[in-house]
Symmetry: C2
Subunit: 349 residues, 2 copies
Amino acid sequence: MAVTIRDVAKRLNLSITTVSRALDGYDDVAEDTRERVRNAAAQMGYAPSHMARQMRRQRADTIGFAISLPPTARDNTNNRAFADPFVLEFIAGLGDEATQCHLDLIVSTATPGMEEETLFRRWVQGRRLDGVVVNRLRKDDWRVAYLTQNRVPFVASGHLQGATFPFIEVDGKSGFKRMVQYLAGKGHARIGYIGGPDGLRLQDDRLAGYRAGLRAAGLSFNKAFLAQGDMTRNGGYAAALQLLALPQRPSAILCVNDMTAIGAMRAARERGLVVGRDIAIAGFDGIADAEHTEPPLTTLNQPAYDIARALVQMLAQMIEDGRRGQSHVPKQVLLQPELILRQSTEGGN
Amino acid sequence: MAVTIRDVAKRLNLSITTVSRALDGYDDVAEDTRERVRNAAAQMGYAPSHMARQMRRQRADTIGFAISLPPTARDNTNNRAFADPFVLEFIAGLGDEATQCHLDLIVSTATPGMEEETLFRRWVQGRRLDGVVVNRLRKDDWRVAYLTQNRVPFVASGHLQGATFPFIEVDGKSGFKRMVQYLAGKGHARIGYIGGPDGLRLQDDRLAGYRAGLRAAGLSFNKAFLAQGDMTRNGGYAAALQLLALPQRPSAILCVNDMTAIGAMRAARERGLVVGRDIAIAGFDGIADAEHTEPPLTTLNQPAYDIARALVQMLAQMIEDGRRGQSHVPKQVLLQPELILRQSTEGGN
DNA sequence: CGCTATTTCCAAAACGTTTTGGTAAAATGT
DNA sequence: ACATTTTACCAAAACGTTTTGGAAATAGCG
């Protein structure tokens, strides 16, 4: 049905070789022939079939993003992968840079009834993609094992101990340490922490930062001040209620991410507390919403969009190197998050 | 490099035909042969190449989402396609249902330097996709013309006058009419409206609803109470400041969508007004954030997620019908948005 | 046993490109 | 005028499947 290269060739009494090469800009075709080909192609509405090209070139020109969700963050009716603005900004960065690199991006959204893992495996095995970006690594992540084994190029946002793959990580430990020290400096002595699900690398990291901060400030660690959410608003809400119900409630609460913090602020409001006066709350990520909350949220900003773009560039390079049989030196970057102070941590205690 | 169907066939001394048919479940292969094939395939880690399959079958098994952005909603560094939770929920629905229908979804994100249109044309011409979902139709939308001309199946969220294509639309006119009547009933006589960019179908629609509501409530239309945003938070903020600077400011403001309303609430707060007491503000969309704003936002809810899923189903059916040469009767649906009353419109005037 | 029906398998074509390894013709050099 | 290079083109192979149209072998039947 659609117009193929053969149709164009026939129309001009040329070989398909010449048509192909004319359009691809090879220099072994006469300038006026090239012009004739271009015109005919434009007029006939010809564009090379993407599938056929991929087939012949043996490359998918597609990268995948294997998003990892904590089980509680899914529900039956609605895929909540997209609910966190941080993840979204990240995806936007991936998408933009991918297009710029002439790559397509497919995002593995785990749907109810279909396991994330199944889908992902199908993609890799079906040579659907040339490379993968993974995020939110777990302590023992099947994805890195799988990708390494199948020799699929991949880059990570975050890293594991002694990683041999390329990654870009934002230093959550150092960030939260600074945050605790800041709060301690304002007189807070009872500082709580709402974390994410166990097994997540970033959770360990940020929790370690929290504890390091307490130590540095000469405060003792109190297990009762620890609560666990699931990195969603509702998770943060529930965890905060728990902390606020303590007989000696914390005067400040650090949250593993901004979404959690937004939930925590709601909990505080409902308990009749004015955030930024009666209690300090802070997050991590620097999502745009944090600027517009009431009160605006103190947070540690990570440049999700730029990180994503950089990761895609690294990945593209890696894929290219792999094709040429060159070995790739993994680039590994550690960034410092930026402490953004806003009203939610005003008022010492 | 990767293992192909030929490798499996060779290993078992079978033809590739048989291997293919064994795995695809055809009944002209002996049960024990099928078992042998299955085992060998699993053991050798064989999975059919997606590209080759597509090539042969002449179908991309992919649908596209052509997102339309007002120019002001883009900036140089960051793609703001993903900034609106409403769009996101919509995309999540598309993605989920697509996976369920064994389709892939690619989202056309217009990047700086690359025109949305160029990218989109490449996809269609390169037969990258079997069908398209379009949203935010413009009065004279090049996309519907283009898709119709190229005989690409598509469905729309929203519709145009006398549309011959399938669509699902939420009745913005009727919704805003009801909203105005509700506010008028609470005593508001000076009701403002912050719209979206011109040329957008939904803008006309909702504006018409606003005017119809005024008429029904016996209020006169005041041009000064009209402001224009760009459907983003910042657009809403700026437009609201303008309305609030009027000597006789509105006592209630309707916003074309929730993001605009969130911006407007910020503007009101900054002017020292308490939303829900000194001024009423309402939105449209029913995004999750609207529940968590301070105060929670009155809005007209549209089930973005479910609409998206339904659209994909319609599209899949359409594609299927097209393959069989059957003509397709376009299904056209008009839904009523649900009025959700929250604190932001408390307190009459 | 001879005939037809069923079962199980397969060779070859096709999908639409890009790439390889050419060949004639024209231009250039001696 | 002949050898050599350059220019402009092309036939055929390959990419990895699925599908078509059989063909042997086996089973069923009178």
